[in-house]
Amino acid sequence: MYSVNYHRAASVADAAKLLKGGDAKLLSGGMTLIPAMKTRLASPSDLVDVSRLKELQGVKVSGKTVTIGAATTHYDVSTDEKLKKACPALAHMASLIGDPAVRYKGTIGGSIANNDPAADYPAALLALGATIVTNKREIVADKFFKGLFETALKEGEIITAITFIAPAKAAYQKFRNPASRYAIVGVFVTKGKDGVRAAVTGAGDDGVFRSKEIEAALAKKFDASSLDGLKVSADGLMSDIHASAEYRANLIAVMARRAVAAANA
């Protein structure tokens, strides 16, 4: 790791100030950033640690509205009793990230700011139609995820919370890479008052995306049988040592069927 200057922010406002100097990066759980720094894929001049900020912690559920602080860990999301009642699919999804030690440190804000094309949270937030709240504005998930490791966040902008209306039905199914535990394909489906949404992670050449084919098929009837015979095109899907684009296309249909079955269970 190259030399770096560490700062512990006292507040979100303080973090915003600290971010202005040099090539500073926010540090939350550090489960991606620190490994990237160790391998010198990232070399920020400064780290601004926001992981201990109370104002960024915790899950709040008010009626159907769920708000999750950006520095809430995957462990805290996966075990939150209020969330398990309001949106069990999201708590379940968080329980599938990495391993227990990673879930104790990694955070929802860090995950979506990084927007890894195989991360789980981007699919969940896109399917939930969530809103990403920053220290400057609110961004809907459809406009937040911009491509591989790209988001709508501007220089110095800090995610403070994620909020969404819990849908009537939702589920996530993931075919995970057994070594990295990232998704080779993950599909998050929701059925809410605005209809059906299905988001796919791990597969797209350009990162997380909504599958129009799956959404159209499920709009008629939200049942796994609506996806029987569904052919997903391999165009625009990733091919790598783990899976070909064609294999991923098939997995999208399989994971979508399983997710709908789980959402209806």
Binding site: V4, Y6, M31, K38, L47, V102
Partner: protein, 166 residues
Amino acid sequence: MSDVSLTVNGKRVSGSAEDRTLLVHFLREHLGLTGTHVGCDTSQCGACVVHVDGRAVKSCTMLAVQASGSTIVTIEGLANGADLHPVQAAFKEHHGLQCGFCTPGMIMTATDMIARHPQGLDEATVRAELDGNICRCTGYHNIVKAILAASQAMAKGSKGKAKQAA
């Protein structure tokens, strides 16, 4: 450079370290606590697991300065003098190790796992919870046995204490 102040195994310690110093290196090289191992150094293998503020985390993926102010327990902090911690005793009894390199991390993960499952553990849960700890010798079989046995022994122990208290 930053000042790093920690409570490690019940003792307050402080030192000065470069900001890029990983917690595992601070423990091993500054404090001489070499029971915590560096295996893969890529957050995968879990040989470096320690408890930070009661949570089992990978000390190769955390800066020492990030942990400043925290309470740390390492493998050296588990035994009560000559009396092994029940998880250590179970690993010995069930031969949950061969070369022993992964064992400190396995035991720190196991104690955290048992604490989070006061209702008890089953084999499938133990295997799933060991996702972040890699052992290249044992095939995990005796590690799983040891953790299940320790979980039962600790549940009995706590019931015994509750009876005594009552």
